[in-house]
């Protein structure tokens, strides 16, 4: 009752916030956990937590950094719990100190999206199937091996083959992306 109305997030404001940040946070989280499904769950949990605390949070100021910090902490916990926490690697990936605020301007340019589609289409059929299952179907190597009745080694080899091809085909875009990021940061 003592709270000033301005400080309580209305449901409409909350939905707006949710829609604005959900994907960005998922992208942020998957960089740590390397698993889009786990990332999605972490972001859901963080929003549920924010909802429960919505009366104590100033919507003007801290929501974005609150969300980023919460996701960051949960991701590190996830890595720790799954015995995949390695500080050196997180530093190498520029993830150890990076905040969500810096990586949040997440957009995928249509050109890049189309370039990926083209490169995927160029892959041999079996290889393409496996690559799509893994990268866009969010299936684990083991799940793919089970579904296609092949060994996990075969899945690994096919994935490697696909990724080598994609790297070559997308090389220019990677360079371009790095350049854009460099300009934006300046």
């Amino acid at each position: 009752m003592e709270n000033t109305g301005a400080q309580i997030l209305s449901e409409a404001a909350f939905e707006k916030l949710f829609r604005a940040h959900f994907k960005g946070l998922c992208f942020f989280a998957q960089r740590y956990v390397k698993d889009l499904e786990a990332a999605r769950e972490i972001v859901q949990e963080v929003f549920v937590l924010l909802w429960e605390k919505r009366s104590t949070i100033d919507p003007e100021k801290s929501v974005k950094s609150y969300l980023g910090t919460s996701v960051y902490n949960r991701c590190l916990n996830y890595l720790r719990d799954n015995k995949k926490f390695k500080k050196d690697l997180l530093i190498a990936e520029h993830l150890f100190t990076e905040s969500y605020a810096e990586t949040s301007d997440f957009v995928v340019a249509d050109e890049i999206s189309r370039a990926i589609d083209t490169a995927v289409a160029e892959l041999p059929e079996k290889c393409r199937e496996i690559f799509i299952m893994n990268r866009f179907g969010q299936m684990k190597y083991q799940e793919i091996a089970n579904k296609l009745q092949i060994s996990i080694k075969t899945v690994e080899a096919q994935m490697s083959k696909a990724l080598q091809h994609m790297r070559i085909r997308l090389h220019d875009f990677i360079m371009l992306l790095l350049l854009i990021l460099y300009i934006l940061k300046k």
Partner: protein, 338 residues
Amino acid sequence: METNQTYYSELIHKYFSGEVRHDEINEISDWIGKNENNRKEFDEINEVFQLFQSKAVETVVDVDDEWMKFKASVSYAGQPEQDIYTLKPQRMGRKLWLVRVLQYAAIFVLLAIGGYFLYYHLNRVTEEVLTATGETIKEALPDGTKVTLTTGATLSYPSKFKDTKRKVKLEGEASFEVVHDESQPFLVDAGTVQVEVLGTVFYVNTNAAGNHVEVKVTSGSVAVFYSENPESRIILHAGENIVLSKSGPEEIVPETMLPTVSGKLEFDDQPLSNIILRLNKIYHSDIRIEGEHTGNCRMTATFENQTLDAVLNVIKATLDVTVTGKGKTLVITGKGCK
């Protein structure tokens, strides 16, 4: 070198796919720390994966869907219950209500039955019997009183002392160390003779030679009386003992069984018959009472290390009786009391 490079590229692919084990993470970490080329390889694979991932997030994650999921999870946790109830048909609610009531009723009935049995079990008084068959046994009674039974003795007592007196029944020889409790005197039922105490150490033998009951007091005091005449009590103090005939107050106790007394002799509103009985035992005397009602006269007196003459003088003066005879063979006569 070439195969090595492929091996690590595959390992890094696995890493970004979330497929590596803990030891492989360490392997990658070591490898990229070795030189700048390795580091570049790692960065490039990272970049290409981020391209895929940005597209994956864009295509796989459906924000409308996520919002629905979010609303579902917070509505269970945070929405007023009313909202959930209205979703359920009324009839279903009533059925659940009935099931809930029956569940509680069942729990209540089970608890009541369990409670009743527990209460019954805890409060049930059973008769316990102790018998010293081969050797002397020591046992504690429910109130903490210690009892030592000599071979052949049998003691019966309730598993719980719930009556106004802690009553035990003895046949044979036993010593007691009674826990003090004024509100609940300890009573030894030795057949015709009863011994009542508040808290003391004493000895009872219901099978003393010549059909007698013997009581010895080590500490404290006890009251000894015949079951048929509980009003006539003989108070025994520490160091005193008494031998009573089982068949009744009239019978004279044989001299060989007479006890010696030391210390106080206390009569608390006792009839003369009892006093004389007591004196006969203590002083090894043969005093008889003549006159139908003389024995009924009551008196209260305390004697400490007195001669029999001195005691008799007090009795004469108090009850207005005459004492005739010689030595320890005496006759008391008086007008009698009602």
